[in-house]
Each structure stands twice: as structure tokens, then as C-alpha cells.
């Protein structure tokens, strides 16, 4: 049974007509489970949230009169007496991208129905995510306690530096934290056979993976626009 009706235009080799007929066919527009479609649509909406945050940040950065602190100096760690710019951020970024790798492997193992491996790879992803949040806490503490930066005040220049930093990284950190919880719930359900009883279907691992990769991708943009600019 084919979902896509064949029309004369398609038979004549009109590829555009073919695409239109495919997407407007009956039953479904995309040949994916509804959960996956819903996650993509949610991520599109979430993209607009983070874009608005970043555009808002760039706008206030242009409107401020006070100098914007040099991120390479603010976010430097001392190693052996020498300040190394963005060291912690580099490590955090590396960890988050690594977690995307373990997540991709978990998705693969999920489709191979290898429950044990899927479970441990998802737990590894969650642990990497949690350590990312831990380092973010360290960074916040350093900024608040050592440097005296507050959301409403910044001894190094424009107050909006602190406002935007805490708001954007905070909102992203909440996304990571939510993701860690989501991954752990799914991981334990994989392990205890919850999905086995529901048709041995592990597409939820991929759906969770979509969310996780999205959170990573957002971090790359925050890294580029906030730390590197």
C-alpha cells in the first residue's frame, strides 16, 4: 500500500508535483512517529525563544554606554600562574559535545535493541550533562563571589553584561538540567523493560536525543555570541 498517490504530473516526472503530493497525502505528512514530529516542532518553537534571547542581548549590548568587559579576561582561569582565556568554557563545550557523541551512540544501540548498552550510554550522557551544569555553577560562583558581578551591577563595566549572562546561561542551564532528568527517566525505563512491553519500541531514545543535540547546538551559539564576541 502506498501512501503517496501517483498523479499524472508525478508520472510525467514533475518532481515538485511529486513533493507536493507526498506531503499533502492522507494520514500523515511526515513518515515519522508523531512523537518525533512533535519534538521537532517544539524545538522549532524553542529556537525562537533562544534567538529572541540572543537578539535581545545583542541589542542591549549596542545600546549601553559603559564599556563591555573583555570576555577572554573575565572567563580566564589561572594555570601555573598564567591566565588562560576561556579555559573553563572550552572544557565545558568539549564535555557537552562529547555528550552528544554518547547520545548518538545510545540512539544507535536503542535501534539495535541492545538495552544494556543503551542504558549505560544514556547514563553517560546524563553524567556529562550534569558535570556541565556543575561547572556552570562553579563559573557562576566565581563571577558572583570573586568578581562581584550581579545581574543588576558589574564592577567591570556595563551592568547588562551580568544581566544577559545570568539570564541566558541560566535559561540554557535549566534546559540542560531538564534534559538530564529526561534522559535518566528514559534510561531507567529502557532498563526496566517499559518500552519492551510497548512493542519493543525505542524511538523515544531518539526523541530524547533530538532534544539533547538541540541543547548542545544552542550552547554553540551562546558560546559564539557571548563568549567569543
Amino acid at each position: 500500500m502506498s501512501d503517496a498517490p501517483m498523479t499524472e504530473a508525478v508520472e510525467a516526472g514533475d518532481t515538485f508535483a511529486g513533493a507536493v503530493v507526498d506531503y499533502s497525502a492522507d494520514k500523515q505528512a511526515f513518515h515519522v512517529p508523531w512523537g518525533k514530529a512533535m519534538m521537532w516542532i517544539f524545538l522549532l518553537s524553542d529556537t525562537f525563544i533562544f534567538s529572541t534571547f540572543l537578539i535581545g542581548y545583542m541589542t542591549v549590548r549596542m545600546s549601553v554606554q559603559d564599556p563591555w568587559p573583555l570576555t577572554s579576561e573575565v572567563f580566564a582561569l589561572s594555570m601555573g600562574g598564567e591566565p588562560i582565556p576561556l579555559l573553563l568554557i572550552a572544557i565545558m563545550t568539549f564535555i557537552l559535545i562529547t555528550s552528544s557523541g554518547t547520545m548518538a551512540m545510545a540512539v544507535n544501540m536503542g535501534y539495535r535493541k541492545e538495552k544494556e548498552k543503551t542504558f549505560w550510554l544514556m547514563v553517560a550522557t546524563a553524567v556529562l550533562g550534569a558535570s556541565f551544569v556543575g561547572m556552570q555553577m562553579f563559573e557562576w560562583t566565581k563571577l558572583i563571589v570573586d568578581e562581584g558581578v550581579r545581574p543588576w551591577y558589574n564592577p567591570m563595566g556595563a551592568a547588562q553584561f551580568g544581566s544577559a549572562f545570568f539570564m541566558i546561561t541560566g535559561f540554557h542551564g535549566l534546559h540542560v538540567t531538564g534534559g538530564v532528568i529526561y534522559l535518566l527517566v528514559v534510561a531507567f525505563r529502557v532498563k526496566n523493560g517499559f518500552y519492551e512491553r510497548r512493542g519493543n519500541n525505542y524511538e523515544i531514545v531518539e526523541i530524547a536525543g533530538l532534544y539533547w543535540h538541540f541543547v548542545d547546538l544552542v550552547w554553540v551559539f551562546i558560546f559564539a555570541f557571548f563568549y567569543l564576541w
Partner: protein, 597 residues
């Protein structure tokens, strides 16, 4: 990878019927119950907003005659009236109410794809309404910043509700956005992924197209409001300066510095303009179905109607700054935004022509839903034409912030959608309740509402031309305003009170019909679309009995030539009755499924 569609897995899935009273009517996951919950809450909160508008009108018509209305409370009435009507009534009623009720029924599915999330959506909506109403009872009262909530004024001392009121307003909006997102994901995914066999996209009733596109707009526009609400909450509570410039208030330098107030305006209207179409597009869709059904004629230019909905939705994201011509933004922007704004008139006018052409040579039955639907065409043309004036920068500048603007947006996104709400409520009431409403009472309700709305909003255009400013508590000794302006204002107030009182006819009609109305016949309008073809009326949990319906034609096969019956339901195979669309109406591609070949 071969993937089996949702509709084809129908019999593999377990369907639990709700057992207890609580799971059936309170914490229900059934889309029809959720729809009625959404609609009920929205209409109740809308009545509060109606009451607030009467209080405003009393002050404007008969200045300073009522002790309860002082300048502060007047601004609070204005703000809450606007916010409730736009967000908590119309958005919730069209998407949460009609969207929830009609999407699964019209698409031929048993429920939304994710019923639990759908239930959460309505309870989050309820929570947002509670937070909103709570702001009436906090010290300082609700915010009085106007529904646009522009900073710095909205969070500065001196504005009513600048303390707790504005915070509760913003929190309530954030909760509403969470609710709308949870519902919206369901609506969009259900339309895309859970249609029944034979229901292609180009066979969907226009109601579904309108609600679908409006939900897409909601998912993409609400983020801007959410982010600006978060930023303003931070500005208010912990004194960040996203939107707040350096200010001196009551002789003291505030701690704010260097924020950008115009950033808020851009973010707000990036949400605010699509919001207009979040309200308008479902109305366009629903009214198309009501018109076609009661004119016994297929909708004129179905394909163009669909493309117009999509085009309007797309364009609505690039016109937002036409709300900001006087904000001090770069004048070159005005040129761009005026152009895009006027381009929207093209697909919109196309829809109006198609509605009129649907009526042309139709077999028109002037029942109550049809009266409201035709009235919508009048008020929408009226409000649309004044929009062309206001879309042009040079005409907008003198008319900005006058009653002309008030008249325009009430005509186009107040009266018009509300007329469609009534048309749809009367049209689908027999389906939702199984009872028939009282036709005579309904006609009284219609004429009082239609004429009442015109006698309220038509004079406002003249007030606007005379330069009467909007949002003023009283006009004081203004030389340029003739005395007749005040007389006109008094007449508007009297009309508004009659108009508001006339709405009680609607509620009397609904409740009396529920109580002892006569039983509605099945498919009492002779409609073609799936929602009228359920085994039970009103439809039971799961909608379709044992098997899902199978669709063989579009939703507008009315008066197919050579047929005795003047409607052919979507489930009738082409072998029994030829598909009317393929005779007469040009469709481009043909979208038949392989079963029918």
C-alpha cells in the same frame, strides 16, 4: 524504513474509556471535554472583560459621574479589558476551544496524539487565569499600563499596579504561553500526523487550515512575548536594565541605566502582530465552513483559500513595526513595513471575494449561524479598509492614538472574530450538546449584537477624525473638540450597554436549550464534514465507534450536479456519487488516493 501511520495502527492501540466522574469531566483527557473546559473558562473570563469595558464606557459617556471610576482604576480597566479579550478570551477560545473540539473530529482521529499533554494545557490555562484574576486583589491592584505593557512606564512608580500588578500580569502570561505551547504542539502534530485514511491535506475543511496555521503562528510568536516577559520581570524585581533607561523618578536617580525601551516594543509586536492573525485565521476558517454549509454551495476557490491562509500567516511575521510608526524608529523602516502591510491586503481581499462568491447563486438559508457569518463579512471589510489607511505611514501619523485606531482594531479583531465565535457556537451547538437552540431568540441576539456593534464602533471613526485621543480618562477643556463629540460618546455608551445586555440572550438560549431544548436531528445542517458523521451525537469518547472513517472527497461537495441530495458527506465513495470538485472547480493536481483509481 517502512513506517506505519498513526491512523493505520488504530486497532493496536488500547482505548480506555474514562470510568469515574473525575476522569470523565474534570481531569479528562478527552479532547471534547477539554475543549468545553477551555471554552467555558474563556467565556467566563471574557464576561469580566466585557464588564470592564462597560465601566470604561460609563466614564467616557458620562464623565466623573461614578465614584468607583477614578483615573487609576480607569487605566486598569483599559489594560485588563484589552489583555483578557485578546489573549485569554479569543486565543484560548479559538485554539483551545474550537481547535480542541474540531481538529480530531474533522481530521477523523480518535483524539489528539498526546491527550495527557492536552489535559495539562487546559489546567495551565486555568492557572494563568487564576494568577491574572489574583492581580485584582493585590495591593495597588492590576497593572494599568495598557495592554501593550510598554516600559519604562509600566514598571515605574505612578503607573497603577506598578508593583505587584505588573509582576502577576507577566507571570500569568508566561504560564499562558506554556499552556498554549502544550496545546499547540498537540494541534499541529495531530493535523500533520493523525488524519484518517483518505484525508489528504487538500481535503481538510478550511476550519482546520485556519486553526492549524494560527497554531503555527502561536508556537513561533509567543516565544518573543515569553522572553520579553522574563526580561521585564527581571527589570522589575532585581533591577536589571534590559528595557529601562536611566531615569529620575520623584527627584531621585533610579538605579536603571542604558536599557532599550524600543527593544521591548519590537519584541512585543513581533508577538503582537502574529497574535492578530492567531485570532483572525481560525475565524477565517470557521466562517468559510459555516458559509458553505448554509449556502449549500462549495466554498469558492478552496485552493486559493488555503494558500491565502498560508500567505497571511507568513506575511504576519514581517509587518510588526507598523504598530510603531510613532515610536521614533528609523523612518526607512516605515517604508518597508508599510509595503509589507499593504501586501497582506491581497490574500485577505482574496478571501473576502471568495466568501462573497460562495454566497453568489447559493441556496442561502438565513439561519442564526449564517446571519452571524454574513455579518462577519460586513464588519471584516469595514475593519479591513480602515486598516489600509492606518498601514500607510503618512495617514497613520495624524490618526495614531485616536479613536480611529480603536474603531479599526475593534472592528477587525474584536467584532469580526466574536461574530464568528457566535456563528460557530450556534452552528456546532447541536453537535456538542445534542440539543437544538431556539431560533427566534438567536435571531434577536444576532440583530441586537450586529446593530449594537455598529452603533458602538461606527461613530468612533468620526471621533478619531476629530482627533479625540484614545486612553484618556477625561478630555478636560480641549478647544478643538466640539460639544457634539461628547454627545456622540454618550450615545456610544448607551449602545454599548444595550449591546452588552443583549449577550444575556445568548446565555439564556444556551442554558434553556441544554435544559429543555428539543433534541437535534443527526447532521441537522446537512453538512459534509466528518464531525457530523459520528455514530453518536454528541460524539462519545473515541469519536468513531469501532472503525475510523475513510474519506473519499473534499469537505465541500454541496449541490453536486445531478444528485438528489444537496450534500455528499466526505465518506461517500466516488463510485456512488461523482466528486463535485472535479467537475467545475479547477484544482490543479488531483489528490485522490489509490483506492479510488
Amino acid at each position: 524504513m517502512a513506517f506505519v501511520a498513526f491512523a493505520d495502527r488504530d486497532h493496536e492501540q488500547e482505548h480506555h474509556d474514562p470510568q469515574t466522574f473525575l476522569t470523565k469531566y474534570v481531569w479528562s483527557q478527552d479532547h471534547k471535554v477539554i475543549a468545553i473546559q477551555y471554552g467555558g473558562i474563556a467565556i467566563l473570563v471574557g464576561l469580566i472583560a466585557l464588564g470592564l469595558s462597560i465601566l470604561m464606557r460609563l466614564q467616557l459617556g458620562f464623565p466623573n459621574s461614578f465614584a468607583v471610576i477614578n483615573p487609576e482604576s480607569y487605566y486598569q480597566f483599559v489594560t485588563m479589558h484589552g489583555m483578557i479579550m485578546v489573549v485569554y478570551l479569543l486565543t484560548a477560545l479559538f485554539l483551545g476551544g474550537f481547535g480542541n473540539y474540531l481538529i480530531p473530529l474533522m481530521c477523523g482521529s480518535r483524539d489528539m496524539v498526546f491527550p495527557f499533554l492536552n489535559m495539562l494545557s487546559v489546567w495551565f490555562y486555568f492557572l494563568s487565569v487564576i494568577i491574572l484574576l489574583a492581580s485584582f486583589f493585590v495591593p495597588g491592584g492590576t497593572t494599568g499600563a495598557g495592554w501593550t505593557l510598554y516600559p519604562p512606564q509600566s514598571i515605574s512608580a505612578g503607573t497603577p499596579g506598578a508593583g505587584m500588578g505588573i509582576i502577576l500580569m507577566l507571570v500569568s502570561l508566561a504560564v499562558f504561553i506554556v499552556a498554549a505551547t502544550m496545546g499547540g504542539l498537540n494541534y499541529v502534530t495531530t493535523v500533520l500526523q493523525a488524519r484518517c485514511k483518505g484525508m489528504t491535506l487538500m481535503r481538510m475543511p478550511l476550519s482546520i487550515w485556519g486553526i492549524f496555521m494560527a497554531t503555527v503562528l502561536a508556537l513561533l510568536a509567543f516565544p518573543a512575548l515569553l522572553v520579553s516577559a522574563i526580561m521585564m520581570i527581571l527589570d522589575t524585581t532585581i533591577k536589571t536594565s534590559f528595557f529601562m533607561p536611566a531615569m529620575i523618578s520623584a527627584g531621585e536617580q533610579l538605579s536603571y541605566n542604558d536599557g532599550s525601551p524600543i527593544l521591548f516594543q519590537h519584541l512585543f509586536w513581533f508577538f503582537g502582530h502574529p497574535e492578530v492573525y492567531i485570532v483572525a485565521l481560525p475565524a477565517f476558517g470557521l466562517v468559510s465552513d459555516v458559509l458553505a454549509t448554509h449556502a449549500r454551495k462549495n466554498i469558492f476557490g478552496y485552493r486559493m483559500m488555503v494558500w491565502a491562509i498560508l500567505a497571511i500567516g507568513g506575511l504576519s511575521f514581517i509587518v510588526w513595526a507598523h504598530h510603531m510608526y510613532v515610536s521614533g524608529m528609523n523612518p526607512y523602516f516605515g517604508f518597508f513595513f508599510a509595503t509589507t502591510t499593504l501586501i497582506i491586503a491581497v490574500p485577505t481581499a482574496l478571501k473576502v471575494y471568495n466568501w462573497v462568491l460562495t454566497l453568489w447563486q447559493g441556496n442561502i438559508h438565513l439561519r442564526v449561524p449564517m446571519l452571524f457569518a454574513i455579518a462577519f463579512i460586513f464588519t471584516f471589510i469595514h475593519g479591513g479598509l480602515t486598516g489600509i489607511f492606518l498601514g500607510n505611514v503618512v495617514i497613520d501619523l495624524p490618526l495614531s492614538d485616536t479613536y480611529f485606531v480603536v474603531a479599526h482594531f475593534h472592528m477587525v479583531m474584536g467584532v469580526s472574530p466574536v461574530l464568528v465565535v457566535f456563528a460557530s457556537l450556534y452552528h456546532w451547538f447541536p453537535l456538542m450538546s445534542g440539543k437544538m437552540y431556539n431560533e427566534t431568540l438567536g435571531k434577536w441576539h444576532f440583530w441586537l449584537t450586529f446593530l449594537g456593534a455598529y452603533s458602538v464602533y461606527l461613530p468612533m471613526h468620526y471621533l478619531g477624525f476629530q482627533g479625540v485621543p484614545r486612553r484618556y480618562f477625561s478630555m478636560g477643556n480641549t478647544d478643538f473638540l466640539p460639544e457634539s463629540a461628547q454627545m456622540l460618546n454618550a450615545s456610544i455608551t448607551v449602545s454599548a450597554i444595550i449591546l452588552a445586555a443583549a449577550q444575556s440572550l445568548f446565555f439564556i438560549n444556551i442554558f434553556m436549550s441544554l435544559w429543555k431544548g428539543k433534541k437535534a436531528e443527526k447532521n441537522c445542517w446537512g453538512a459534509t464534514s466528518l464531525e457530523w458523521l459520528t455514530p453518536d451525537q454528541p460524539p462519545k469518547h473515541g469519536n468513531w465507534g469501532h472503525d475510523l472513517p475513510v474519506v473519499h472527497r473534499w469537505a465541500y461537495d454541496y449541490s453536486v450536479p445531478g444528485q438528489e441530495q444537496d450534500y455528499t458527506p466526505q465518506t461517500v465513495p466516488a463510485s456512488e456519487v461523482p466528486v463535485g470538485r472535479e467537475h467545475g472547480v479547477s484544482t490543479g493536481f488531483s489528490f485522490e488516493t489509490d483506492q479510488e483509481k
